[in-house]
Amino acid sequence: MAKDLVSNKRRVHFEPDNVDIVVEQGTNLLEAAINAGVRIYASCGGAGTCGTCKVKIEKGEVETTRTRKVSDEEFQQGIRQACQSRVLTDLTAYVLVESRLEKAVLSREDRKISEALATGWRLKSPLSKFFVELPPPTIEDNVSDLSRLLRGLKQRYNLSNMSVDFDVVKKLSKTLRDSDWKVTVSTLVTAARPRTGDTHRPRLINVEPGDTRNKYYSLAIDIGTTTVCGQLLDLNRGKVIAESIEYNGQISYGADVITRIAYCQRPGGLKKLQQVVVATINEVIDTLLAKSQVNVRHIGHVIVAGNPTMTQILLGLDPKYLRLAPYTPAANFIPPVEASSLGIKVKKRVYLFAFPSVASYVGGDIVSGIVAAGVHQRKALTLFIDMGTNGEIVVGNSDWMATASCSAGPAFEGGGIKHGMVAISGAIEKFSIDPLNLEPEIGTVGGEKPKGICGSGLINIIAGLLEVGVIGQNGKFNADLPSRRIREGNEGYEYVLVWTSETQINKDIVITETDIDNLMRAKAAMYAGCQTLARSVGVKNSDFEQVIIAGAFGSHLDIEKAITIGLFPDLPRDRFIFIGNGSLLGARLTSFSVDLLDDARRVAQMMTNLELSENVDFMNNYIAALFLPHTNAAEFPSVQKKLDRLAKDKVKRGAMV
């Protein structure tokens, strides 16, 4: 005891981390926590202004400069701001859950996608299965096999006015007899034309022996320029059974649609790219089948959504004229095509339906996303953004829609980024940075050791680096800062996110100035596209009642961070809804319901396209958006306020040091 009184060493114990550190009396408690390795959140960097570094003093005494960030009640309970407290005696300090750094990174609640989904549709798949038991023919009743089948379907299910594929007839007699006149019939409908009184005329596409109604599956596939995502669907239950994602094999032939179209102009080029994407689709299907243990025989339908270039290449239609003024697609509404004829590994008589396109760069993927999100069902003025390699934007509601497409490049999907990758296991998607020592806190998809950075990770990283001043508003590194993580690499300055020993890839994972530049271009194209489209229809940012974001991000796109870098307009955060891969979602929902199939057709027809390539304002808006968050600070008032505050805090900290 006596020794303690003369010594000025004090032991501080932190809970719930259960760590101790011995410090000099009078040491700042936040510093003690950081030195002890306790992850504590201090967004103002210890200036005392944010109130995020609260701890509860459970034992011992501190001397505190009290600020308004601690309420009377809290103060009574022994809650203090760590940064405003100095250690007097041996202590036990409990780091409040909201002050723990993990919380800031990990516990964000994803908004429920269901808020933004299409509603009012029936579970009534375009592909239907009907089981019939037919009386065998007799001399009194010797109508043809096909008539017998159709008669049975009419009697049992009241099905009529059906068209019949010739292929069905070819093997009908054998199938009926082999199966003892018990068969399952598959029919398919296509979208009814809006306002024509058109009804869904079923088309008889397959007859299988026995009752296969419980084996009733289909595929929904999003064909992106960078990735291909697929889902195996159980049509009886309206459920996803397996999901898979692969890089589009066409990547090796160019990162964007323009280079792909150019490649198609070479001899054999179109055929090559067609085969390559089919190979990717087949890989996706293999994975889905392996994961689900479903037999490929039971897949009865394929719905794909992709941009016009991807769709046309898949179908073997030369995309040449998509690229040449005046930019015309081969067809906006493509009749169903037998998937196996394209090389896709499903059985014969399985049809592929491609989502209709709007214009040469506004395709089925965006129509699919709009339908999935139910934009066409609501009066609310909506801004819909699909963040793919080609960014697509829609402004409108149930009455009208205008759309534009801008080439954002593959950065949001990890393309063109040194350590970029798609949002799969091991991709860094969460990031926060300590404003004092510039050390990062990262989180990966699936919690694995990091392998690379996905799109949402990039956004979070750039926002974080900007907020603490590691990069400037022009996206360039502030190389003078004292951190060993900021260094000069092969491609200029870079920030080390993860040291080699903590990765799966056996090298430091870094973000380079070039990466930041690429992401800035992508975000500038997206924002300038939104701005140009909105202004061309006389809409202000503040008019948007909801902003729906679709894209192949991980599930943790942080709207706040995306606004911080100037990717999305600075609107109240509760207007934003993230729906993930909208194109895949639409393909899935449409696989379940003919109602949405009809909607897709209507949506494709109601969209008016604005060509940004022909628009003089776009380039000007683009250059203005090539800044963090934007050249015109008035466009991002909340971000500017935050940056100004952080800069002030920094100055204050500098003064304290």
Partner: protein
């Protein structure tokens, strides 16, 4: 019935910035209306002209451009004095041509010593202009800023790539920076924001939008400058409310239309007159677009511009 003449609604004002120090210091900016729109607002400080001096004898100049400076082109101090004493220069712009890494590649210390000599020898404000090579300018202009501490120079071009280091030196030694961007209103604004973030005070910044002469895209420069002024005066864009400097002489006098002797193409007319008029006309276009400081070469072109300014501002 009286006719009401419509007026532009202005909401902003260009910052007033003093260049140099002492009796001969010059203040520019302060406009509350478009250039020479004296019926709508004020132009408290008339546009100023800085005369060019080179730190090494120029090569390949048109005879007309050399003639007024015969005998002094080898001596920057004498050249500067001649401009002031004989041609009434109110400012000097020293072009550090000798530091060009693709040319003489003279070192920073040597170049800075020459700047210091000139600065010590004259009492009008001095603009010091590098070669727009980020690395070399960083080296040279930082040194210049240091050895000329307290002289309140204008230092340029300060570009995105070198703004941090040159900007920091300018702040430290109290000089004014000419923020230079390639003919784009957004880029101009971005650099101003970055310099502001760095700590360059609002009264120590000029915009160099990058200009060219007649026949070489001056319409484009005009339109960018005009937009900068519109944003500054009618859209309260604070980050663009700075005076504009136009380094026009070297752009005009390097063109083949000026250098070509009359004998080679008689339809172009008298070479001397042609050069002077092209410089004067280019300068006038830039004044109409919002230029506050013009860097010019030929005394007769300067005289024409002074007369024009006087006429346009006569009450």
């Amino acid at each position: 019935m009286t006719v009401e003449i419509p007026k532009t609604a202005y909401s902003g004002k260009i910052k007033e910035i003093t260049l140099g120090k002492g009796d001969k210091a010059v203040t520019v900016g302060g406009e509350t209306a478009y250039p020479f729109y004296l019926f709508e607002g004020k132009m408290p400080h008339l546009p100023r002209i800085a005369m060019e001096v080179y730190d090494t004898p120029p090569e390949g100049w048109a005879a007309a451009a050399l003639e007024p400076f015969a005998g002094v082109t080898g001596d920057p101090v004498a050249w500067a004095k001649k401009c002031i004493n004989d041609y009434g220069a109110e400012m000097i712009c020293l072009q550090l041509l000798s530091t060009d890494p693709n040319g003489l590649n003279r070192g920073a210390d040597e170049a800075a010593a020459v700047v210091k000599e000139v600065a010590d020898a004259i009492d009008v404000p001095l603009i010091v202009w590098g070669t727009a090579n980020d690395e070399k300018d960083t080296e040279v202009l930082r040194k210049v800023a240091e050895v000329c501490q307290g002289k309140k120079l204008v230092i340029g071009p300060v570009e995105e790539g070198d703004h941090k280091r040159i900007g920091a030196a300018a702040i430290g030694y109290q000089h004014t920076v000419a923020a230079s961007t390639p003919i784009d209103i957004n880029l101009a604004k971005q650099l101003n924001i970055l310099l502001g973030n760095l700590g360059v005070p609002d009264d120590a910044l000029l915009i160099d939008p990058t200009v060219s002469g007649i026949g070489y895209g001056i319409e484009y420069c005009y339109s960018v400058m005009e937009r900068i002024r519109m944003a500054a005066l009618t859209q309260q864009d604070e980050k663009l409310q700075f005076p504009i400097i136009c380094n026009i002489a070297k752009e005009v006098w390097k063109t083949k239309e000026i250098k070509m002797p009359e004998a080679e193409d008689p339809t172009l007319g008298d070479a001397r007159k042609r050069g002077i008029l092209l410089e004067a006309m280019s300068a006038m276009v830039l004044l109409m677009a919002g230029g506050d400081v013009l860097v010019m070469r030929h005394p007769e072109a300067i005289k024409l511009i002074r007369e024009m300014i006087a006429e346009l501002t006569a009450s």
